[in-house]
């Protein structure tokens, strides 16, 4: 399995970039050339130079250092949103698929209701109403991220639970919980991992979009979306404030997409062939 992942070019390049991002996040205090929060007004809006490779912002803070520290914020949001939404989604999908009937019908209608809001609208409204703060953003993004897991897991459970090994386990007197956790969960975990990988990237993108709109995480937190939001006022005089944070957002999202797509090819070789054609 791991060898397959390393052989897949897409998964490997995604994995390499993600490893680098994690290292940057962990080593941020060592790597950053300056304090990301220190305001030196006499050095405001300096173009990229030897001392400040990505220039300085309107408060004279080092853009490169803020991008480096922003990695921590981004990965933290991406991971926590994904963990919460995967937990909720998998839980709902498992119970809906396993118990079926009206219960299943009811849960799936709830999924439909949450899916009725296009894109970020629901997250935007929730984060906006709750007010500023990192936990609110995570809650809002998790609220719009769990439905995919629920649907996929439910579908997989519906297929798995008809198989013989489940019936055997049941005839041997296994409890519902035992069957769900020991027999069903391991068989549905691979699509969940694929979705989670892409989900981390999407959560980072969503958080960036929210803070770009000025909703959610507030300054002076080092966050890529916020940097863009403030940088856009200096588009003409200091375009580097817009260019660099955007590049890092895109690279990060791409890396998680690559990993996810690559993992899908490895988990489901049939799918990969269709795409390769």
């Amino acid at each position: 399995m791991i060898r397959d992942i390393l052989k897949n070019k897409m998964a490997l390049s995604g994995l390499l970039i993600i490893t680098m991002l994690i290292l940057v996040a962990l080593l941020a205090p060592v790597l950053a050339p300056h304090d990301p929060y220190e305001q030196l007004l006499e050095k405001a809006l300096m173009a990229p130079c030897w001392d400040y490779p990505f220039g300085t912002d309107e408060y004279g803070r080092c853009v490169l250092s803020r991008i480096i520290f922003g990695t921590q914020t981004a990965l933290f949001i991406g991971l926590s949103v994904t963990v919460v939404s995967a937990f909720v989604g998998v839980g709902i999908g498992l119970t809906a698929g396993f118990y079926g009937g009206r219960f299943d019908e009811f849960l799936m209608r709830i999924v439909d209701v949450f899916l009725a809001f296009p894109g970020l609208i629901l997250a935007l409204v929730v984060a906006g109403l709750l007010g500023p703060g990192l936990p609110n953003v995570i809650f809002a993004l998790a609220l719009v991220g769990w439905m995919g897991y629920a649907r996929v897991v439910r579908g997989a459970v519906l297929a798995e639970k008809e198989k013989e090994f489940v019936e055997t386990a049941r005839s041997l007197g296994a409890s519902d919980g035992y069957i769900i956790f020991l027999h069903l969960l391991p068989n549905i975990i691979s699509p969940v991992i694929v979705m989670a990988s892409i989900g981390i990237g999407q959560a980072i993108l969503g958080a960036a979009a929210l803070s770009f709109l000025g909703i959610g995480v507030q300054p002076p937190t080092a966050m890529w979306g916020l940097m863009l939001s403030y940088g856009k006022d200096y588009l003409q005089s200091a375009p580097y404030l817009t260019i660099f944070p955007g590049v890092i957002i895109m690279v990060t999202v791409l890396a998680f997409n690559f990993l996810g797509d690559g993992l899908r090819d490895v988990c489901d070789p049939r799918y990969g062939k269709v795409i390769e054609e």
Partner: protein, 313 residues
């Protein structure tokens, strides 16, 4: 087929009802006293008396049980009364109807932009599979799908407005104002549609009837346009329909960047101003339009795909 549509309509009603419950719950779970906020919007924050707040609580029915409030709100909405803006005091529905055309214009322009780019690009990439052209097209498509639209918008402004001076930085007016927002919104969709056009063209080009057409000596151009493209369109239309909804979601960001006076910008501005009545109505409208589009696409798919309708009859 009609039974299927009927069933879908019933489900649609249930989902929309659920959406109203969800938005209502969200508004009521939000921190802050609704009566006080309405009072501030009417009389200003300075010399606000408790009596005024309580009067509003009574007149707006905010003291009754939540269930009663919900049904009150729902019945008003069904009769077309979405409440008044907490800021301007004007009916919310009027404001939304004034702004709806701007959002629709932008969405359709973005759809058009993406189709004009994606269909030819996908067809060319498929007909010259594994060529440099194919490689370049697919790479640009990948970039198109993964570039954050808020960033793309800024980059386009930087290039075409600030540096080249071709288009206005932001605003609403003639066609010149529409180009950059439509391009920003359409880029992601163009990327997805290009990839899909290519893969579904490739699938069709491998079919037996294409081989037959080739062996008859038909020109490649005739095969692609007359035989292949027509059949490749079915999956493309489905995906475009699904993406149309996401286009709607993207208007929020794009309208904010370009100060485009549509519903997306109204929603964001109302969130800033904590104008709950408007936020509620906008969110609901987005959801209703989105589920309606999904339904239309599904039904359309049924009509377009001869295999499905053949089995049903």
């Amino acid at each position: 087929m009609y039974r299927y549509i009927g069933k879908r309509l019933c489900l649609l009603l249930i989902v929309i009802l659920g959406v109203t419950v969800l938005t209502f719950t969200l508004m009521h779970a939000a921190p802050g006293d609704m009566a006080e906020m309405i009072a501030i919007s009417r009389y200003g924050a300075e010399n606000l008396t408790t009596a005024e707040v309580e009067a509003i609580r009574l007149s707006e029915g905010l003291d009754s049980p939540v269930m009663v409030q919900y049904f009150h709100w729902l019945t008003h909405m069904i009769s077309g009364d979405f409440g008044n803006s907490l800021i301007t005091g004007e009916p919310v529905l009027e404001e939304i109807l004034i702004r709806l055309p701007a959002t629709l214009k932008l969405s359709f322009a973005a759809l058009l932009v993406s189709l004009v780019i994606a269909i030819p690009a996908g067809v060319i990439a498929a007909s010259k599979q594994h060529s440099l052209m194919d490689y370049l097209t697919m790479s640009s498509a990948l970039i198109g799908t993964s570039v954050p639209n808020f960033w793309l918008g800024l980059l386009l402004i930087l290039l075409f407005s600030v540096t080249l001076g071709w288009f206005p930085v932001f605003g609403y007016g003639g066609l010149r104002y529409m180009v950059l927002p439509a391009l920003t919104l359409g880029a992601g969709l163009a990327g997805i549609t290009t990839r899909l056009t290519r893969s579904s063209m490739l699938e069709v080009l491998n079919q037996d009837y294409v081989t037959t057409a080739r062996s008859k000596g038909l020109s490649e151009r005739r095969i692609i346009f007359k035989h292949a493209l027509k059949n490749a369109f079915i999956p493309i239309i489905t995906v475009i329909g699904i993406q149309l909804g996401h286009l709607l979601g993207g208007t929020v960001i794009v309208e904010s960047i370009f100060a485009w006076p549509g519903i997306g910008k109204l929603l964001v501005d109302s969130i800033y101003a904590r104008d709950f009545a408007t936020v509620q109505a906008c969110a609901l409208l987005f959801a209703i339009i989105f589920v309606l589009i999904n339904l239309i696409v599904d039904v359309l798919y049924l009509f377009l795909n001869p295999k499905i309708s053949y089995q049903k009859e």
